[in-house]
């Protein structure tokens, strides 16, 4: 075989190797600035068109709300790497005074508040969108209401407290606060 042919083979092998060992593209960290997904038909009935004026942040509601009273609560969707309940219109929110990880820190899931976990227990609440029968709607909140992590929401509903101090809001109305540009 001529040296030219060999050179060709070696060149081809090197090219294949170079392609195979090329630097992997680093996927950008998930951002909460992506387009908001649309709510489903059922979810649209739950979404409020005007922001309730009497909303209190999560921390305040946790301190004052008693079991069974109507509350209007303000918070940011997050509080864990996965703040959603898969397959249910339920999610956790965190008091807006608690700051999520700053984008410059490169945290892939800033909504888990990993930089301020000590503040979470007193500033987290669970939201469950309930149907007429009082059961949690059996659709994922992301599809049902078109929500995504770190969105600020105002939720109207009934407070549910337990002996351990956990706060759950059985929601009948959700307002999504528009993102500031």
């Amino acid at each position: 075989m001529s040296s030219g042919t060999w050179t060709g083979f070696v060149g081809l092998a090197l090219a294949v190797f170079a392609v195979g060992c090329g630097q992997t593209t680093i996927a950008p960290a998930p951002q909460s600035t992506s387009a908001t997904p649309a709510a489903s038909a059922g979810g649209a009935e739950v979404l409020l068109h005007e922001q309730p004026v009497d909303a209190k942040p999560v921390g305040d509601v946790r301190e004052s709300a008693e079991d069974g009273i109507e509350v209007t609560i303000l918070g940011r969707i997050g509080g864990g790497a996965n703040p959603w309940v898969d397959g249910r219109a339920a999610f956790t929110i965190v008091d807006p005074k608690v700051e999520p990880c700053h984008p410059s820190e490169g945290c892939p899931t800033p909504w888990d508040y990993c930089c301020s976990t000590d503040q979470l227990p007193k500033n987290r609440a669970m939201i469950k969108v309930v149907d007429a029968a009082g059961g949690t709607v059996e659709q994922d909140a992301r599809q049902f209401l078109g929500l995504k992590e770190l969105q600020t929401v105002v939720v109207k509903g009934k407070a549910k407290r337990d002996e351990a101090g956990n706060l759950t809001v059985l929601a009948n109305g959700v307002f999504v606060v528009p993102e500031q540009k």
Partner: protein, 389 residues
Amino acid sequence: MLTFRPLPWDYGVRNLLRRPGRSALTLLGLGTVVFLVFLVVAFVRGLETSLAVSGDPLVVLVHSLGAGENIENSTIPGQGAGVLSASLGRVETRYRQKHVSPELYLGTEVTTESVKEPAMGLVRGVTLAAPLVRRQFQLIEGTWPTTGEAIVGRLAAAKLGCDPAELVIGRTLRIEGRPWKISGRFAAAGAAFESEIWCLVDDLQQAMKRQDVSLVAVAVSEAKGLADVGEFCKERVDLEWEATPELDYYASLQTHYGPVRSVAWLIVLLVSGAGAFAGLNTMYGAVVGRVRELAMLQTIGFSRRAIALSIVQEGVLLAAAGSLLAAAVALPLLNGLAVRFTMGAFTLRLDSVSLLYGLCTGLAIGVLGSLPPAWRALRMPVVDGLKAI
């Protein structure tokens, strides 16, 4: 009319037999290459299958928050199973027995009777609810353990790197400073549990001076029950529990082992490349040694394409024979062979897919290895070929 007239099939076959030594060596080389491909593919398939069959779509694991990827570090209070049983609907229930299994799971040193050097084993403290939730579980020999006893999985010996005779019923293991008599052996349809040692959770808690468990496995009666468990854990923030469907847990392990699979496929590629070069070398030798013969074939009217095709035929025949030989050796030797791995142990799996991969690789090596020599045969001028010494 000009029609394509290939060389007779027998011509290529006879040519291989004209150089028996060289053909046999090439056959052996290609067979070895394909055998290595079978080995790597069986490894990947075994690992994937073990993880795939380990997850039950109707089982959800409740563990401490953030311990989803390292369940050995999870801790749940001992009464966790009772809390879940009392709080959840849609839990599988038979004869008023809820299928909720508290389990203490750890990787720890295990010493067998004869081998004094301890090996790292996987131990799971369980209750009688475990076989209800782990539906793949089968007690294949002996009896369910009582206090001071343990049952061993089919692949536990592979995980411990010891002789299976060390783990027969009646032998004693030393775990967490205590002796445990082996009372039985179990299988789990190839699931990851097969590399574990199971004993009673109370017993293990006493030995470890612990009162907690690592996880609670809950079998639900319908898919919606998975969300019930997730909702409960999210609502009871104070408990700091998290629910992970078992399928998702093993899928995350699959992702975790993604780089291992990538390296395995790279090895397949490199080994195949080496095989192709071996075939290339042989077929070049065959062409160079038969320059005059190939020129003569052209002289008597065979087209260059027909000659090239005959050379490819020789290469493919050798590769096919080598692949079949490799399959014949690999099937009894590799299939079902236990392999120790970080997560436990699994068996190599030389199934139809693995065989297809290996045989196709063998044929591809045959074709790719003989194409350049065939190309060379096509380019050779007839007159030069006839005069070649």
